[in-house]
């Protein structure tokens, strides 16, 4: 037994260590990971290359035989297309605006839940509170279009009782856009709240006590204690929300379908409509490729900054 331990503690010669890279262990490692990699190559990389190709053609799904390579024509048309610019603008503005609201409201809700920590049933309440995250965005959209319905909707009825003006919530250009922001914020604030609660709970109790002994007000505590402890978690949350907002489809599909006019047009919706309703598949693919490029750039930027701060 004694000799065996001795052999193990001896350093492995470098030559052998190098050979180990190609040894049995490495092969097994690859063998285990390869099926997943191959699967994703088939389902992600190959379609992406295919999409790039389609975007350079004038493919029309109703007459695929007339499919022709037209180079960058779709992209040139896109840059001139006002609808496309509106869609990208709407998507980006939606992303920034909703995330801001989600953070602010989420923070206040989180504070409330943390303060009520010891209260009976608070865990169940929190689970109830996060239900909006779990329902499909489609149901969120349908539900709100029922609530905001100009004639039958409960919101306008309440407004009438309160002697407020009756509003065409999803029928007016500005209002429709902000209604969708509000639906989005309603659905995802609980997500930010959960993350902020996790962050606030990670602050050591002793630090809070010291701060309180020294008479720090809520602002001082917020800046010097809470922000440092929640910022990493929040950046994960913001990152995920940016990704999701760039893909936004379901809520708009269920409420306004991009209208009235182009007021709530979103990038994914535009690509969908061009490809599958107007059958301008080549053009739709070009929209999709540009969305992909845009989101890749944003993801890279966000990910790099998180990587630097050791968040991921």
């Amino acid at each position: 037994m004694g000799t065996m331990t001795k052999i193990h503690t001896e350093p492995i010669p470098e030559r052998i260590q190098k050979r180990k890279r190609f040894s049995g262990e490495n092969v097994t490692g690859w063998f285990l990971v390869l099926p997943a990699i191959l699967y994703l190559l088939v389902w992600n990389v190959y379609p992406l290359i295919y999409a790039l190709y389609v975007s350079l053609t004038n493919l029309n799904l109703t007459r695929p035989a007339l499919n022709k390579f037209i180079g960058l024509n779709n992209y040139l048309l896109l840059l001139k297309d006002e609808t496309f610019r509106t869609a990208i603008g709407n998507t980006l503005y939606m992303t920034v605006l909703s995330i801001l609201f989600e953070l602010v409201i989420g923070y206040f809700c989180a504070k409330l839940f943390v303060r009520a920590e010891k209260i009976k049933g608070v865990n169940i309440l929190r689970t109830i509170f996060i239900l909006p995250i779990m329902i499909t965005p489609l149901v969120a959209g349908l539900l709100w279009s029922y609530i905001l319905n100009p004639t039958l909707g409960i919101i306008n009825y309440i407004f009438k009782i309160l002697h407020l003006p009756i509003l065409p919530w999803l029928g007016d250009e500005k209002l429709a856009y902000y209604s969708i922001v509000a639906i989005n914020v309603w659905q995802w604030t609980p997500f930010m709240m959960l993350l902020i609660i996790a962050g606030l709970n990670s602050i050591p109790k002793s630090l809070i006590e010291v701060a309180e002994l020294e008479g720090a007000g809520w602002w001082k505590k917020f800046i010097h204690l809470e922000i440092p402890f929640i910022s990493n978690i929040i950046s994960i949350g913001v990152f995920i929300r940016v990704m999701e907002n760039l893909k936004m489809f379901d809520v708009v599909y269920a409420t306004t379908n991009g209208g009235p006019g182009k007021a709530t047009e979103m990038a994914s919706l535009l690509a969908y409509r061009q490809s599958f309703l107007y059958y301008q598949t080549g053009y739709g693919a070009a929209v999709a490729v540009l969305i992909l490029i845009l989101s890749t750039i944003l993801v890279q930027l966000l990910f790099k900054s998180m990587w630097r701060r050791d968040v991921v």
Binding site: C109, L152, Y157
Partner: protein, 273 residues
């Protein structure tokens, strides 16, 4: 002491009120599902239906049961397939020093971040050529690809937390790789597997876009059926509400049963709870 108690009462009350107000829209949907068509169109709006009327549910269940089944099969099968591919991959990435494993991890995660519309156009064309358009097989294969990155990412972080010594002891006892994975690795990361199962099932169950494009009738999923209720000229709000409630119910149940897994699932395992 007295002050402490009264502030407790205030925070308790505010949490209850806040939660109630927040989910009020969902309660409104639930109430709508029990209303008759006449009640739906009354002005001023009827708040409580005058009796528990389950006709809407009976109607939509009859009308949409094949779509329920499609969604269920697609969710369960794609989750299972994703796990089958993800468990060995995650184990390998967490345990073996294969070259550039960090890059592979990042690449796998990045496929999850890609906007689905970018792959769906070519996949639509491919599905039609291969003949799996509007089939459950096609949907399951597609959703597997969609659930796989998340599964790998979550399971890597769980496998990394398992101490190596346990597996090494098993190796010395003569277990081979498959036995180690089956009897030691998988049981030790069962919480991670739970997270993957919960979220894969919920995502697949909730997906609209893929279902909308990749199915027509035979493989139509529940969200697509639900969307079609709303697309008709004369929206049948009470039926839509009933179907929406039925679609949401399983997710609500899963959420209640698995609250402790939810935070790590929502953040790709990036945040521990």
């Amino acid at each position: 002491m007295k002050k402490r108690r009264s502030s407790n009462v205030i925070s308790a009350a505010s949490v209850y009120v806040l939660t109630f107000l927040y989910i009020l829209p969902l309660l409104w949907l639930l109430l709508a599902a029990f209303k008759t068509r006449a009640e739906m169109f009354k002005i001023p709006p009827v708040i409580f239906p005058h009796k528990i009327n389950i006709d809407n549910f009976i109607y939509v269940l009859k009308d949409s049961s094949p779509y329920f089944l499609n969604s269920l099969i697609a969710s369960v099968c794609s989750t299972f397939l994703a796990l089958l591919l993800a468990i060995p991959a995650a184990y390998s990435l967490a345990r073996y020093n294969i070259k550039r494993s960090k890059d592979i991890e990042l690449w796998i995660l990045s496929t999850k971040m890609m906007p689905p519309i970018a792959v769906i156009i070519p996949l639509f064309i491919i599905f039609q050529k291969v003949g799996i358009f509007d089939t459950l097989v096609g949907l399951i294969l597609l959703y597997t690809a969609f659930n796989l990155p998340f599964a790998v990412w979550i399971l890597i972080s769980f496998f990394k937390k398992v101490p190596r010594e346990i597996e090494e002891a098993a190796k010395i006892d003569g277990c081979n790789l498959i036995q180690i994975l089956m009897f030691i690795g998988i049981p030790l990361v069962r919480s991670g597997i739970a997270v993957v199962v919960i979220f894969s099932i919920i995502w697949t169950w909730n997906d609209l876009l893929f279902g909308l494009i990749m199915t027509q009738n035979a493989a139509k999923t529940l969200p697509v059926a639900l969307a079609s209720y709303a697309n008709t000229l004369d929206i049948k709000w009470e039926l839509m509400a009933a179907l929406a409630v039925l679609q949401t119910l399983p997710v609500v149940i899963i959420t209640f049963l698995s609250q402790r897994h939810i935070v790590s699932g929502l953040t790709f395992g990036g945040v521990e709870k």
